[in-house]
């Protein structure tokens, strides 16, 4: 969130004097705990959804009931009790939130300070019940006006269901079908938040789109659903997440992101994920089970996923590219850091269907403490995909002796003209490197940050500037205490 400060300032300029207002008490409504058809009907009704969407949810729910939680990932965790979760809860009332920063976990505040986040933003992020807050809604409205001139649609998924039913019907579930996997099916049944983006033909989106402008409160949605459509010859860069850890009471996060890229269009999707990783002994922390997929449907379309994953106790995530249009391009740049008892099983899938399609995978996994970091990637070349290329580079960096890094590449080439390259390395931060940095005056933490940022350079430089600076600091903070 803070990483978008610059953008926010730009928007404030556009918006002129933004308004301050009293946050009105939002009526607290909760669906009963657990999941059944009634709860889904409740959600749909609360969101004032059209009938077809309710049916779609119910269909997903029925499929989900017959599915089993996957266990092929190299992850071990207590399986969530799906009947012990609230699937719909309106934002908390002010009474339930901390009254001031004094009541907020000092550890969290220390991290905010290190990231250079202003006091006001700290209050918002940590969920303090401030009575005067930056009115993001009015800014977002102005922001949306600017986009509207270009014909860009940028709204919540619920609004899209109401206001753009044709687009929603056409694209919802078109990249990630309802029964794609256990968590995608669950998300399809109960999603309550998320973003809808449509970039019309020939439009280059005038600004980086960030969820910040859309979400009124600090909490991120538990079951988010995002759809991005880039029509012919368009371009958009989308930022998800926030370098600052946010207060969050939901243990299970199961988001779905669907991206459709049409002819000559390009989508750049950047994520910084820094949810609560649990404490040093591995207690608590978020389960992050995400399905992200992009379909390059038009010729010469391009999608590029960049992710910096430092948070969550367990991450299960494979942003993928279906390269259907001839000459389409898929890219995946990933940094995944695991420390203490964190586990990450992440990677990508590049499915080459069209001719002359190409993909690049650069994955940097860093493990410290007792953490496990797994890269799992599939490169698949279909029989008709002539002259495809893939370059994969998977580098692992280990800090200490108790952590692990594993690389699991799957390659299926059904066309002999495919050129596939795979490189993998595993290294450690050596005592020599560390001493060299210390000898030049850097302290242990700075040294680790520097070395790790160097290791991740090819990925970090893919991030939009305003994200990159904070993400660099974040790498160091995530690895705090891992050396020395």
């Amino acid at each position: 969130m803070a990483s978008t400060l610059e953008t926010r300032q730009t928007v404030e300029e556009v918006a002129g004097d933004y308004k301050y207002g009293f946050v009105s008490d939002i009526e607290t409504v909760k669906a009963p705990k657990g999941l059944n058809e009634g709860v889904i009907r409740f959600i749909s009704a609360k969101k004032e959804e059209p009938e077809w969407l309710l049916d779609w949810r119910l269909k997903a729910y029925k499929k989900w009931l017959k599915m089993e939680e996957p266990d092929w990932a190299m992850l071990s965790y207590h399986k969530p009790d799906f009947q012990d979760i609230y699937y719909y809860a309106a934002p908390k009332s002010a009474d339930d939130r901390p009254k001031s920063l004094d009541e907020v976990d000092p550890e969290l505040l220390r991290v905010y300070e290190k990231l250079g986040i202003s006091l006001q933003e700290q209050e918002v992020l940590s969920g303090v019940a401030v009575d005067i807050v930056f009115d993001s809604v009015s800014v977002a409205t102005t922001f949306r006006e600017t986009l509207k001139e270009k014909g860009v649609i940028f709204c919540s998924i619920s609004e899209a269901a109401r206001d753009y039913p044709e687009l929603m019907k056409k694209y919802l579930g078109s990249v990630v079908p309802v029964a794609d996997n256990f968590y995608a099916a669950l998300n399809s049944a109960v999603f309550t938040d998320g973003t809808f983006v449509y970039i019309p033909k020939g439009v280059r989106c005038p600004m980086e789109l960030s969820t910040y402008f859309r979400i009124n409160e600090a909490n991120t949605g538990q079951f988010e659903r995002t759809i991005i459509i880039a029509d012919d010859d368009s371009y958009v860069s989308y930022l998800e997440g926030c370098t600052a850890p946010m207060r969050d009471e939901n243990q299970l996060h199961a988001a779905v992101v669907e991206i459709v890229v049409l002819e000559n269009a390009e989508v750049k999707y950047s994520t910084v994920q820094n949810w609560y990783p649990g404490d040093k002994d591995g207690k608590g922390g978020i389960y992050n089970f995400v399905t992200k997929r992009a379909a390059c449907r038009g010729t010469n379309s391009k999608v590029s996923w960049t992710q910096v994953e430092t948070g969550s106790a367990v991450t299960w995530k494979y942003p993928s590219c279906i390269l259907q249009g001839d000459g389409s391009v898929g890219e995946f740049y990933s940094v995944a850091i695991t420390n203490n008892y964190q586990q990450a099983d992440t990677g990508t899938k590049m499915i080459h269907i069209g001719k002359n399609t190409s993909s690049t995978i650069i994955s940097k996994g860093i493990s410290a403490g007792k953490a496990q970091n797994i890269y799992r990637g599939l490169v698949k070349v279909m029989p008709n995909a002539e002259n495809t290329r893939n370059f994969t580079q998977c580098d692992s960096l280990l800090i200490g002796d108790e952590c692990g890094a594993h690389t699991v590449p799957y390659i299926e080439a059904k066309n002999p003209t495919a050129q596939l390259e795979h490189e993998a390395t595993t290294s450690k931060i050596s005592d020599e490197q560390l001493f060299y940095c210390l000898q030049r005056g850097l302290d242990v933490e700075q040294s680790v940050t520097l070395i790790v940022n160097g290791f991740c350079k090819e990925v970090m430089q893919q991030l939009p500037m305003e994200f990159a600076v904070e993400a660099q600091k974040l790498l160091g903070i995530s690895l705090e205490g891992s050396v020395g």
Partner: protein
């Protein structure tokens, strides 16, 4: 300035330095020579506080401060610099970034302000020019793909930039071509000042023709076994360590 008394150092459970004494005063240049494996690099690491070099006995003081109490980066902050025998590669980190971070850390330790980006660039370019290093190399990752000689020259650029009070230069001359040796020697001589001191570790008398030392010591089997002036280095060059009655494989 630097006072080492009865220093005993163990590495991997093995005693390498066995009661070493050495005093270096401001304004002086000392040279240490000695057979391979004698413990010269070990001494430099012990002075600079590298992990794994366990001081089992003795004291090291620097301008009255107990160095052994300080972390490696704090010792750097106090003004100690080590030019490494084998400079280390840091992939993905440009020389510029590395040095800017280093310089600012040192400044912070000394209670000074961070250097402005523009001033830093001017300064580092000037230092690179002094040592005739191609400024393009500043943009490259620290020592990655540098030739042996380029790495050594890079160490000297770092020294010139960080401007230490006391420099230990561990075989900085090894691997340098004839011209580079002179350029590096000039760089070392520029560091000579009544307020500073330098300890050069070398195998060759050649460097000492350019950087004339006030004292020459022979380190063998974990101790200083002989000290003298420049003529000791010349004598060593002629007679070898065995000529001095030192067993070449002492360590």
């Amino acid at each position: 300035m630097l006072e080492i008394k009865n220093l005993h150092v163990e590495v991997g459970g093995k005693e390498i330095l066995k009661g070493l004494n050495l005093t270096i005063n401001s304004g002086e240049v000392h040279a240490i020579m000695g057979p391979n494996g004698a413990g010269k690099s070990t001494l430099s690491y012990a002075i600079c506080g590298k992990d794994g070099y366990e001081i089992t006995d003795g004291t090291v003081t620097f301008n009255g401060k107990d160095l052994l109490e300080l972390e490696a980066n704090e010792r750097a902050g106090e003004g100690i610099f080590l030019g490494l025998q084998y400079p280390v590669e840091i992939p993905g980190v440009s020389n510029l970034n590395f040095l800017k971070a280093a310089l600012n850390s040192l400044r912070k330790y000394r209670g000074e302000e961070e250097i402005a980006a523009v001033d830093f660039l001017k300064l580092i370019r000037a230092k690179a020019a002094e040592l005739e290093m191609d400024p393009e190399m500043l943009k490259r990752a620290v020592n990655v793909g540098f030739s042996g000689g380029e790495k050594k020259r890079n160490e000297m650029v770092q020294m010139a930039l960080l401007d230490p009070i006391f420099s230990v230069l561990d075989e900085t001359d090894s691997g340098l071509d004839i011209d580079a040796l002179r350029i590096v020697a000039d760089g070392i001589n520029r560091m000579r000042s009544p307020k500073k001191a330098i300890l050069v570790i070398t195998h060759y008398q050649r460097l000492l023709d350019y950087v004339v030392p006030d004292f020459v010591h022979v380190l063998a089997d974990g101790k200083i076994v002989k000290s003298g002036d420049k003529s000791l280095a010349i004598k060593l060059e002629q007679d070898g360590y065995s000529g001095l009655g030192i067993n070449e494989t002492a360590a």
